[in-house]
């Protein structure tokens, strides 16, 4: 029982990170209509910026995250302006490959700027907390709490504010959005900013429990794809739920099935779901 609880909490931690990354991916999917393969690179840059702000500029962890959100958000916007915006009318395969190009570039750049070695990100929230026989670290509690807060905020923003619904409107019909007076460029910029910010938050929260290195984006990005598919591409609640489903299956799967095969679990899960429901769980079957 204790084991189960501990593993549920572990699943919750990792699921929170997955959800954050998948959310950014799913938002951008709405605008681009492609899975953005470069999203993992943003995640990686997010980790580095936070680390650099802490070690080189001596900022507090929280402040460093704020800087990272801004920088990665802007980088994401730059990506939209320079690459995806000019490509908006070309077939989706092209965007995918362009995204791969960006990914290669950013990884090489990170290695040039910050070296190829593993870096450790210190956190001021290192304490270990024991409750009900569970071992939690403060950092993990913060991951879960922050992720949930961010998600609630995002949900509120998209559903309840006019600006938020412009993102959804534009995802569904770009020209239609322009015709009701929405500045589609601004919305695209905003969306990419949010996606970048989410990646930065995800990376900055996770890095203290792992490490910062040029390839760190790969850890989460493939799984994030699985998540947004399970959740139905472009679906916000789908991405959140998908993230947690995956987090829990991994931790529970590792405990009760086999830890060596826990990575396969995610992918097999997806294959099964898509074989039964080719449009994903949460997709609305449009005509």
């Amino acid at each position: 029982m204790e084991l189960l609880l501990q593993q549920l909490f572990n699943g919750l931690t990792i699921g929170s990170v997955y959800s954050l990354v998948a959310l950014g991916l799913t938002l951008v999917y709405g605008i681009l209509h492609i899975p953005n393969f470069a999203h993992g690179a943003l995640y990686m840059v997010g980790g580095y910026i936070t680390l650099m702000m802490m070690t080189n500029a001596g900022l507090h962890y929280v402040l460093a995250i704020v800087v990272s959100i801004i920088v990665v958000g802007l980088l994401s916007v730059l990506m939209e302006r320079l690459v995806f915006h000019p490509l908006r009318d070309s077939p989706p395969i092209q965007d995918k490959v362009a995204a791969i190009g960006i990914l290669l570039f950013l990884e090489a750049l990170a290695q040039l700027l910050w070296g190829a070695d593993y870096r450790q990100m210190p956190t001021p929230f290192g304490e270990v907390v024991n409750v009900f026989g569970l071992t939690l670290t403060l950092q993990r509690i913060i991951i879960v709490a922050a992720a949930i807060a961010v998600m609630i905020f995002l949900y509120w923003f998209l559903k309840k504010t006019f600006i938020g619904s412009t993102i959804i409107a534009m995802a569904q019909n770009r020209e239609g959005a322009a015709l009701v007076g929405i500045n589609t460029n601004k919305v695209a910029i905003l969306t990419f900013f949010i996606a970048g910010a989410l990646a930065a938050i995800g990376a900055s929260l996770t890095s203290p429990i792992n490490l910062v290195f040029p390839g760190m984006g790969h850890l989460v990005i493939l799984k994030a794809f699985v998540i947004i598919i399970i959740g139905g591409m472009g679906s916000i609640p789908g991405a959140i739920l998908g993230g947690y489903i995956l987090g829990f299956t991994e931790s529970i799967g590792a405990t009760y099935i086999s830890s060596d095969y826990k990575d396969i679990i995610a992918f097999v899960l997806l294959i099964i779901i898509l074989s039964a429901k080719p449009q994903g769980i949460f997709s609305k079957g449009g005509a």
């Binding site: 490509l87 090489a108 794809f225």
Partner: protein, 329 residues
């Protein structure tokens, strides 16, 4: 002058060049690279048949390539079969696996299909990586034999291997050409155009999509088997998604849905990346943006770009020629 440069002559010149290349080239390393390029191009043709002509982007292609490679490797190393028998069987095994996967994967469409196959590819990688008793896991398969001699012809020298690969390569191009220009090819294109319409025209989209999928896995498997016989050492990383992305890049840079695209893209990038090696770890700083720029300025790749300008040029010419003199090419 223009007459001499028609399509047929260009092709003949290229083939001739490929045939005499070993005699004019002193650097055996180029032979190695060209042989590899032929092999990769075959895999890209498979991908192009499915993604370019049928409209289904498969991201499991690296996986199928690896199945072909491991097929050959396992049959020879562990199965003790002869090289050529294994070489025949490996693509067939790939096809059989492709058939089963295709049956399920093709229920999905568009991005779902892309990600579904991405996951299939990843699972293939994981299986190869984890199933150590069969595949030797990360250690990789060692001791794959070189092609056995056929009669008096042996394939031990790089030049012999080059010609062997070239022959298979030309055969593949011919087959692809014929498929694309046959009723079967038109059927694929109709499906890419609109599945609903194709269906109501009496085309069994299910069957044809599956055919295209299985064919594409065949070429991937064939390329994989050739690769294993050439490099003679394979590890699970050849099933990894980076290989799929490489193939995808070759296809896009060359020109998706065109016949010359896979050749142009593969050769160009392979040669380019060889020449960027001096930049070492930072070559992606140049290659990444180059790739992105190319796609922004010519979404249909290099061949698409040439075709576009060629057809513009042709229509301009056509306007000056009386209409009844223009014949369909």
């Amino acid at each position: 002058m223009m007459k001499l440069l028609n399509k047929r002559n260009i092709i003949l010149i290229l083939i001739l060049l490929a045939v005499v290349f070993p005699f004019i080239n002193q650097n055996q390393y180029y032979l190695h690279i060209l042989t590899l390029a032929f092999i990769w191009t075959i895999a890209v043709y498979g991908l192009n048949l499915l993604a370019g002509f049928t409209g289904y982007l498969s991201l499991a292609h690296g996986g199928f390539f690896a199945i072909g490679a491991y097929g050959l490797g396992l049959l020879t190393v562990k199965g003790g079969l002869g090289f050529w028998l294994s070489f025949l069987l490996a693509p067939l095994i790939t096809m059989a696996i492709g058939l089963v996967i295709g049956l399920f994967a093709l229920r999905t469409k568009e991005h779902f299909f892309a990600i579904y196959t991405l996951c299939v590819g990843y699972i293939i990688y994981l299986v190869i990586d984890k199933w150590e008793s069969l595949t030797e896991g990360v250690r990789g398969l060692i001791g794959i034999p070189a092609p056995e001699p056929i009669g008096p012809i042996t394939f031990t020298t790089p030049i012999a291997q080059y010609y062997l690969t070239l022959v298979i390569f030309l055969l593949v191009v011919l087959i692809i050409y014929r498929i694309v220009h046959s009723l079967t090819g038109r059927t694929f294109i109709a499906i890419r155009n609109s599945e609903e319409l194709a269906l109501s025209l009496g085309i069994s989209t299910k069957k044809n999509k599956l055919l295209s999928f299985v064919l594409s896995t065949f070429f991937a498997g064939l390329a994989g088997a050739m690769y294993a016989g050439f490099i003679r050492f394979i590890g699970p990383e050849i099933a990894y998604t980076t290989i799929t992305f490489d193939l995808l890049t070759y296809m896009i840079v060359g020109g998706i849905g065109t016949l010359a695209g896979p050749i142009v893209g593969t050769f160009l990038i392979l040669i380019l990346s060889q020449n960027l090696q001096f930049l070492q770890d930072y070559r992606m700083l140049i290659f990444g943006p180059l790739l992105t720029l190319l796609i922004i300025f010519s979404p249909r790749g290099i061949v698409g770009f040439i075709l576009l300008h060629y057809s513009n040029w042709k229509t301009k010419k056509r306007m000056t020629i009386p209409k009844d003199q223009v014949k369909e090419g």
